[in-house]
């Protein structure tokens, strides 16, 4: 009771502060609002000529603010590894001869639906990744869709789906994705003394096209990292108590 009263007090205080300060914000949809004035016009007007990529969000995420996204990739990789460490990594896997942990919702209808859906989910994931330069999409979304396809099979067919990547492979993928991102950065550093400056890539095309290819490279890294991390988190949470943990 006491907690609830104190909490309501804090909520009332914060609510009154918000009510008092919110009217000083610019109206929603104001093109002259301060948030839209400084760097954002540069991004909108120059990204097409700088890197031949019409999707402005992609260019901001992976080129103009590429360092930021590099950090984010490492953050999600670390989150996946943290899940692994929290939920039993140090104890060896218990490999039982009989597969007792086959738990699934596997009715024929679900099984057939998953068989039909999963290829298209994975194909759509690749489309979202590779068409992310020209339409909404990109590495994060593509990686999430890839993980969704793999996790759907896990949900329908149980812990031994017989298809997809297992937990250790997902760990490798999560680290590999971050490595690809850093790798692109180191290639540009090796050839042009400029970390993550994609125009220094050793590819014989125009400068804007080189930047476009560099964006594709790091997007692939982000996709692999996100997909691996999400599968890894799902597997850690999905493991039954006592199955692989102390």
């Amino acid at each position: 009771m006491n907690t609830r009263f104190l909490s309501l007090l804090a909520v009332l205080f914060m609510g009154s502060m918000l009510f008092y300060t919110a009217p000083s914000l610019p109206p929603v949809g104001d093109p002259e609002s301060p948030a839209s004035l400084h760097v954002s016009p540069y991004y909108i007007e120059n990204s097409l000529s700088d890197m031949e990529t019409p999707n402005l969000v992609t260019t901001v995420v992976t080129d103009y603010r590429g360092y930021d996204t590099m950090g984010e990739t490492v953050v999600i990789m670390t989150a996946g590894l943290a899940c692994l460490l929290i939920l039993g990594f140090w104890t060896p896997k218990r490999r039982s001869a009989k597969k007792t942990h086959y738990q699934s919702f596997g009715s024929p209808i679900l099984d057939t639906a998953a068989r039909l859906l999963v290829p298209y989910i994975l194909l759509f994931a690749l489309y979202v990744l590779f068409h992310g330069h020209h339409s909404p999409g990109g590495g994060f979304q593509g990686g999430t869709l890839l993980a969704a396809g793999v996790i759907l099979v896990r949900l329908v067919r149980g812990r031994d789906p017989g298809w997809g990547v297992d937990r250790d492979q997902a760990t490798t993928l999560a680290c590999l994705g971050a490595l690809i991102y850093y790798g692109v950065g180191f290639v540009t550093m090796f050839f042009g003394n400029s970390f993550l400056n994609y125009s220094k890539l050793p590819i014989p095309v125009g400068e804007a096209a080189r930047r476009s290819l560099g964006i594709l490279g790091v997007e692939i890294g982000v996709t692999v990292a996100v997909a691996g991390t999400l599968i890894l988190i799902f597997d850690c949470l999905h493991a039954a108590p006592g199955e692989e943990t102390a």
Partner: protein, 126 residues
Amino acid sequence: MSSFFEIANYWAVAALLLIGLHGMLARPNLMRKLMAMNIFQVAVIIFYLSLSEKTGASTPVVPHGVLNPSAADFVNPLPHALMLTAIVVGVATTGVALALLVSIYRRYGTLEEPELLEKMREEAAG
């Protein structure tokens, strides 16, 4: 100063923020605290996306054939980019929090805060 209805988005954001804050402070169940934290996070994301909005502008993807895009025609891509990464990081941190909750539940058998504190005190007393 903006009028009340010009900033309707921000009132929705404020409501979500307060719901999340109350949930985090008042609910005794750790799982519900976590979900309240996610509501709080969604409020922040909606706030940033509202900031990026421009009346009459389209999504930040330049259509084919437009060679010199002008800033007034496309919404601000920067908050979209920031929130794109924030959403994924939010999912990953939620995963870590869930893993922590799983291991707390395996050790103490409860996620209710008062019971949990009592069991931890008993354990510390030996």
